[in-house]
């Protein structure tokens, strides 16, 4: 079994009376590219800050590269790259000065040629000041700074937020550059599911601070499914299927979103319910994620509009 480089056990964080993270248990093996997914306010940034020791857990613990996150020594931090949310860097510095600053913390690991190549690839100049860079360019500098020390574990908090498609593509290619180096582990949170689908091989999904999934991307993709059942007569009142996430009805049609239900179970239930036929609907990761994290009885927008009128 692969070595676990990041592990949380019952990681919990309260802000006052409100809970931001509720007993998060995650294990990320070495060499894994893990997409950390959740809606806005799900607790992704809180979880990442707890993992990096920037926040103190209310309960539970997080271990990175075998060290407790609340007491990460500098030698361990050297092995962990971190791209902050919003790519907050020192605005008065030039890229060259920022490189020098960053290099001082990685005297042996710093790969100056790699950094220069990345800056050139992103069509930036080392003389440029951070305050004169666009959001996308700052993201690129952040990534280059995080990758140049060749970290064993790279943690990125929504690194592609606010970037246009072209810059995102470049950013991901930069990330893939790290991935190609053997034994590197990446954890990145993102709202852009296409990005996750492109690079991740594992997903962790949290919703309202609660872990909903920690599995391989493939497993997630095959687990969350949508099936449409067609009826000659009226649709049955009850759907007794374990793993049912959502059920939408129309006059002669039933649309079910299921998790962890195999074909045979669906077929057996469909037979019992007297359906004419049923079809599995192709879902992309974004659809799956939205279905997976949406509350089951959420009103549709048009229903809300009707209620208002």
């Amino acid at each position: 079994m692969a070595e676990i480089v990041l592990e949380t056990k019952g990681l919990t964080k309260y802000y006052g009376a409100g809970i931001a993270l509720d007993h998060l248990d995650v294990r990320i093996p070495r060499g894994c590219i893990c997409g950390f997914l959740g809606r806005n306010g799900a607790g992704k940034t809180t979880a990442i800050k707890l993992m990096l020791g920037l926040l103190e857990p209310t309960a539970g613990s997080a271990h990175l590269l075998g060290c407790d996150s609340t007491a990460l020594p500098p030698a361990v931090r050297q092995r962990i790259g971190y791209v902050t949310e919003g790519h907050r860097l020192f605005r008065w510095m030039t890229i060259a000065r920022l490189e020098k600053f960053q290099q001082a913390f990685f005297p042996k690991q710093w790969d100056g040629k790699f950094f220069a190549d990345m800056i050139e690839y992103f069509e930036l100049s080392k003389k440029q000041k951070i305050k004169h860079l666009s959001n996308g360019q700052r993201a690129q500098v952040s990534l280059a700074l995080a990758l140049a020390p060749n970290p064993e574990l790279l943690i990125m908090d929504d690194p592609t937020l606010g970037l246009d498609a072209a810059i995102r593509r470049q950013f991901l290619e930069g990330m893939i550059e790290l991935i190609t180096r053997q034994g590197r582990t990446v954890l990145f949170s993102s709202h852009i599911l296409a990005d996750v689908e492109r690079v991740a091989d594992r997903v962790v999904v949290i919703d309202k601070g609660v872990l909903r999934a920690d599995c391989s991307l493939e497993e997630f993709r095959t687990s969350v499914r949508k099936v449409v059942l067609h009826f000659d007569n009226s649709v049955p009142a009850d759907v007794e299927l374990e793993g049912l996430l959502h059920c939408r009805r129309s006059e002669r049609q039933l649309e079910l979103t299921l998790v962890g239900v195999d074909d045979a179970e669906v077929a057996a239930w469909a037979d019992r319910a007297g359906t004419e036929r049923f079809d599995f609907v192709e879902m992309n990761l974004e659809d799956q994620f939205i279905e997976f994290t949406s509350p089951p009885h959420r009103k549709r927008l048009f229903q809300w509009e009707e209620a208002r009128s």
């Binding site: 931090r77 971190y82 907050r88 008065w92 001082a104 913390f105």
Partner: protein, 233 residues
Amino acid sequence: MRFLALLRKELRESLPWLLLAGLLLLAVGIFFLRAHAQVSEADGWQYHRGLSPGQTIDKHRLLQNPNLNLPAIWLAFIAPGLGLVLGVRQFWVPLFTRTWSFLLHRAAARLTILGAKLTATIIAFCISVGLVWTGLYWYACRPDLFPIPEAPQMLVNGWIYIALGLLVYLGTALSALSTARWYTSRIFGLAFAMLVVFVTLAQWRPVSIAALTVLAFVTLLSQTMAVFVRREF
């Protein structure tokens, strides 16, 4: 190497403020010293060419009104002002620019980061107001320019004001790092520093001043260290 990188960063960020404080004190010092020299000349002291035969100097009046008296009063405001600005710049502004996360993930212990900030501030005080004050004292001691050299006590007084500036810096840092509301315990750090400044300025027994300043410095420093190490960012 890490400490030096942090120190360079902090010094560079403090540079505009230390230049401003140093130049302000220099301008004020030169203005008042020149004014004092003109007053002295008007009173009949031919200090440029030495004393005339038979001329007397009212030493008592000179000692009561030393050349650096007015610049010292300015320094008593400039040094705490610089402390306040540097405290805000180093500890409060990063909360708004959200650069704490980036800084704190550097491969350096939190105390090293705090140590670099404090060292940069001490250097900033020494090379701006400290150096200028010492220069002004040296200038005011020139016998060819002033009839009676400045008393060494005035040099010490200036450095006491500079130490008070450091206290205000630590008080500001403590208040900025606090997560409480401003109208509750958050203001305590700055309020304590200001209280010490006023108490120190109100009395002039050197032993008391030294004891009070050292005690306040140790209290504020230990509190700032404790808060910085465990604070969430």
